[in-house]
């Protein structure tokens, strides 16, 4: 059957269309043999474009489809499904990235961007021509989940999954559940705390679907969605469990601002968390409290806003003021970030008489005093002069920071982390609690500093996402595995040596010749073995030598 390729170029409104001369690209593409149709869409991912696409496939008898639009990392599944709905095997679809990797990065040279886009589409066509139909690889899923981190987010996830009937393994490195939240006296915004947390912890302890591993760490993880093999280490003991999905809820740490504002040197300078913990254990009556926000954050080495500290400061300021209305409470800040309903509490704090003053990063406040701080001096921009506030307590609002273990965890689970060392989800908007790696999910402050409300919401979200494949009971993997052409295999065994998954092994042929065979379930499609094979007997589906060479050839 003749190969009939249809090419569809998306304008993505002005995103692509504003830089790339789409008709020009189409004109160029039409001259390639086997391209029977080249069309443009305003938004290829819109509902009506997709139905047009389906019609075109049927109408023109297309047996290969190339869509040039955004990045395959987000939209490829959508178009693949669309092809499938039109009766075309999903593997006969090829995605070309002309938005992120062309229009957006080359917006400054439009003519060249157009030329490049045409070239990229050519490459896509070159590969599409050689695509072969495949079926997804099906794997059964173990109906159990592992939650790493026993904070609020992890507990929420664990409870939720357990209540859906899944076996849950909850691993916590400390000796108690609750995480950072257990340090707080009250939670924002309703300022209840303890009670709720102990309720959650009790629920965990009572749930027979949940096994809790305290003082434990993850030592090793292998496998994939459906069957991860995780080794849990508790002191000298090691336990291996097989789970279908994993939720990372390791939370964040709190910055201890040593060297800043006399922290660690002056006895009455502490962090918000330490104050919260202190006030939880005993009633302190401070009369003159100064809080300094943005300590160690929004600075060069930590440029992000931790998002929760302003609210914690306000919460604690209110609780000081409420327990002792005579107390003078001052919050020195750079900007106040209280989004959503928290704004109410900000107003309430002002009504209570809590002072809010802005300081600048160029002239940060100074704490004066020996042994303990008695005065905070800051430069007031409005007044245009230094102002002294006397104090008997200085509370520093420090940001949540990524856990030190994140780097080693990222390596263990093969998931990415951001420059700030927080875990990086698959897509901030489209796949917020998932990783690009199937079967591993993320929630809470491990992803980004969030307050308890969001931690809980994300805990639910991650649980819901993790439950989807487990409810289905089976998962389909993209069949981009490697396989060996027995006829050409020399049996040298290079592929066996390089395979990270032990997926390749010898197989005896009748004619007294040794060749190799790839276990399609174990193979994860990295292609290490393909590059090690000298004569190309080993090939990776969807990334074969022929396909990639054809792309190079189309570019040359």
């Amino acid at each position: 059957m003749k190969t009939r390729i249809g090419v569809f170029v998306c304008r993505c409104g002005n995103n692509i269309g504003g830089v790339i001369d789409v008709p020009n690209v189409l004109e160029d593409v039409r001259s390639i043999s086997n391209v029977v149709l080249a069309e443009e869409f305003m938004y290829a991912c819109s509902e009506d474009s997709l139905s047009t696409l389906k019609e075109r496939i049927k109408e023109h008898g297309l047996n290969r489809v190339v869509v040039a639009a955004c990045t395959p990392r987000t939209h490829e599944p959508l178009f693949k499904r669309c092809c499938e709905e039109a009766g075309l095997n999903r593997y006969l679809f090829e995605f070309v990235n002309i938005r992120e990797q062309c229009a957006w990065i080359h917006a400054h040279e439009k003519a060249k961007a157009t030329k490049k886009a045409a070239g990229l589409v050519r490459m896509g066509v070159g590969k599409a021509f050689l695509l072969k139909p495949r079926e997804d690889i099906e794997i059964d899923i173990t109906p159990s989940a592992m939650i790493i981190g026993g904070g609020v987010s992890g507990i929420t996830s664990a409870l939720n999954l357990a209540r859906q009937g899944f076996e849950v393994h909850l691993v916590e490195r400390s000796d108690h559940l609750g995480g950072v939240a257990s340090d707080f006296k009250t939670w924002f915004p309703d300022r209840e705390g303890d009670r709720k947390l102990s309720h959650l912890v009790r629920s965990i302890e009572c749930d027979e679907n949940i096994t809790v591993y305290l003082s434990s760490k993850i030592k090793d993880c292998s496998g994939n969605l459906g069957a991860f093999t995780v080794v849990i280490q508790d002191g000298d003991k090691e336990r291996t469990v097989v789970v279908g999905t994993i939720v990372i809820a390791t939370g964040a740490g709190v910055l201890k601002p040593h060297g800043l504002y006399g922290y660690g040197e002056l006895s009455n300078v502490m962090t918000q968390m330490e104050y919260d913990n202190l006030s939880k254990r005993r009633k302190e009556k401070y009369k003159k409290v100064v809080m300094i926000n943005c300590v160690g954050t929004r600075v060069t080495e930590r440029p992000y806003c931790s998002q929760v500290c302003c609210m914690i400061a306000i919460k604690n300021a209110i609780s000081v003021k409420e327990s002792n209305p005579q107390a003078a409470v001052h919050i020195l800040h750079r900007d106040i970030l209280v989004y959503g309903t928290a704004e109410e509490y900000y107003r309430y704090a002002m009504e209570l008489g809590i002072g809010f003053s802005r300081y600048t990063i160029e002239a940060p406040p100074q704490i004066l005093g020996e042994g303990s701080g008695d005065t905070v001096r800051y430069y007031d921009e409005t007044a245009g002069k230094d102002i002294d506030i006397s104090c008997d307590l200085v509370v520093l609002s420090t940001p949540l920071v990524a856990q030190e273990e994140n780097e080693s965890m990222a390596k263990l689970f093969k998931v990415p982390i951001s420059e700030e060392r927080f875990f990086l989800e698959a897509h901030q908007k489209l796949r917020p609690v998932e990783f690009a790696t199937d079967g591993i999910y993320i929630c809470g402050s491990a992803r980004w500093p969030v307050d308890i409300r969001e931690s809980i919401a994300q805990g639910y979200a991650a649980a819901a996402k993790a439950a989807i494949p487990m409810h289905r009971g089976r998962v389909f993997f993209e069949a981009i595995t490697a396989s060996c052409d027995e006829k050409n295999c020399s049996g040298c065994g290079s592929c066996i040596e390089v395979c990270p998954y032990n997926a390749v092994d010898y197989k005896d042929l009748e004619e007294d010749r040794k060749v190799v065979e790839v276990n399609q379930v174990k193979c994860k499609g990295c292609g290490c073995c393909v590059s090690a094979c000298k004569n190309g007997a080993m090939q990776q589906h969807g990334f074969s030598d022929y396909q990639l060479l054809s792309m190079i050839e189309m570019m040359a």
């Binding site: 039409r30 001259s31 043999s33 050519r122 050839e553 189309m554 040359a556």
Partner: protein, 341 residues
């Protein structure tokens, strides 16, 4: 031994004058002559003093100049209107090939039958027509030479336009066979003298002929396993074919470029496993023995049947360059023995 006749009147040119003559020729024609690098080969001459005169024979035969290893046949361009084909430009400027040996001159006449017979191969013919051949006789031979087997006289200029014989300090102009040759001689009039010289008329060492009379026409009688056993040491490389002055098989390949491409023909060799492989994957000559048999049949059976001439000229290149020292003479002898059995 001394075979020189005393005092015969001959046209001669001294070594120094030869350079001057060639320099003059170079002014009118593209000049090709043997040049030495890692090996001696025919090359286009930019400087006459680069010409190598003390060579036995070149590594690659002169066929490279008429039937190059890679030759563009045509190029094509595709646009939305259709496909436009452009024939490769052929040699227009006339050229002179200096230093061809008698065996190679015979080989060219064999190639003429192939490319200029029933099917006229314009690429070859054009080049052939525009090339004047200056031959040099062999006063010495290599132990691999066996041209006399095929009735080739190492001191005869058959098939050349001009034929010289190297006499050490000077060259004798033994033959001027064509009008084109005469006009080249005219260019060198001032350098060519007629003198009474001691003239050498025979090769210094005569090449040893082998008896092939009973072979051609009887090849079919050779048993199959003879070929399998004889071909054992063969590595299936392409050396013997590529250095053979009469081998002329080629493959046609397209080099695709953006919206078009070029069609080339390239030398191919019958000892290659893929030589006879068809598009379907079927391969009639899958074993080395079958391929080896084909190679000998082509030269000593198909050729005589079709063109009434053996497709070998006894230049001995395939013997000298074979990495496993296979000897065509030895094989022919064994074939004869096998036929007689």
């Amino acid at each position: 031994m001394d075979n020189r006749e005393k005092g015969v009147e001959r046209k001669i040119i001294t070594r120094d004058d030869l350079s001057k003559w060639l320099e003059k020729i170079k002014g009118h024609f593209d000049l090709y002559a043997p040049v030495r690098s890692t090996v001696v080969n025919f090359g286009k001459i930019e400087r006459v003093d680069k010409i190598c005169l003390d060579f036995m024979n070149t590594f690659l035969p002169p066929k490279v100049l008429f039937f190059p290893q890679t030759e563009e046949l045509f190029s094509y361009a595709r646009d939305s209107e259709g496909i436009e084909v452009k024939r490769a430009e052929d040699l227009i400027k006339e050229r002179v090939l200096f230093g061809i040996r008698p065996c190679d001159a015979r080989a060219l006449s064999i190639l003429d039958m192939v490319f200029g017979g029933e099917i006229q191969d314009s690429h070859y013919i054009e080049k052939r027509r525009n090339t004047v051949l200056i031959g040099i006789g062999c006063t010495e031979s290599l132990n691999t030479c066996f041209c006399s087997t095929f009735g080739i006289d190492p001191l005869s200029g058959e098939g050349t336009d001009i034929f010289l014989i190297d006499n050490g300090g000077y060259f004798t102009i033994k033959e001027v066979n064509t009008q084109r040759g005469r006009s080249l001689i005219d260019l060198g009039n001032t350098f060519i003298k007629t003198e009474k010289v001691d003239h050498r008329e025979e090769a210094g060492s005569v090449t040893v002929p082998i008896n092939i009379a009973s072979i051609t026409g009887n090849m079919e009688k050779v048993q199959e396993d003879f070929w399998n056993n004889t071909s054992d040491p063969c590595l299936s490389c392409g050396i013997c074919t590529y250095v053979c002055p009469t081998c002329h098989c080629f493959d046609v390949e397209d080099e695709e470029k953006k919206n078009g491409g070029v069609r080339f023909r390239t030398w191919d060799f019958c000892m290659s496993k893929d030589f006879a492989r068809m598009a379907s994957g079927e391969n009639p000559r899958i074993s080395k023995g079958e391929r080896y048999r084909h190679r000998y049949f082509h030269k000593f059976d198909y050729f005589p049947k079709k063109y009434a001439v053996v497709g070998c000229v006894g230049c001995g290149r395939c013997i000298s360059y074979c990495p496993v020292n296979m000897d065509i003479r030895k094989v022919l002898e064994r074939i004869r023995e096998n036929i007689q059995k």
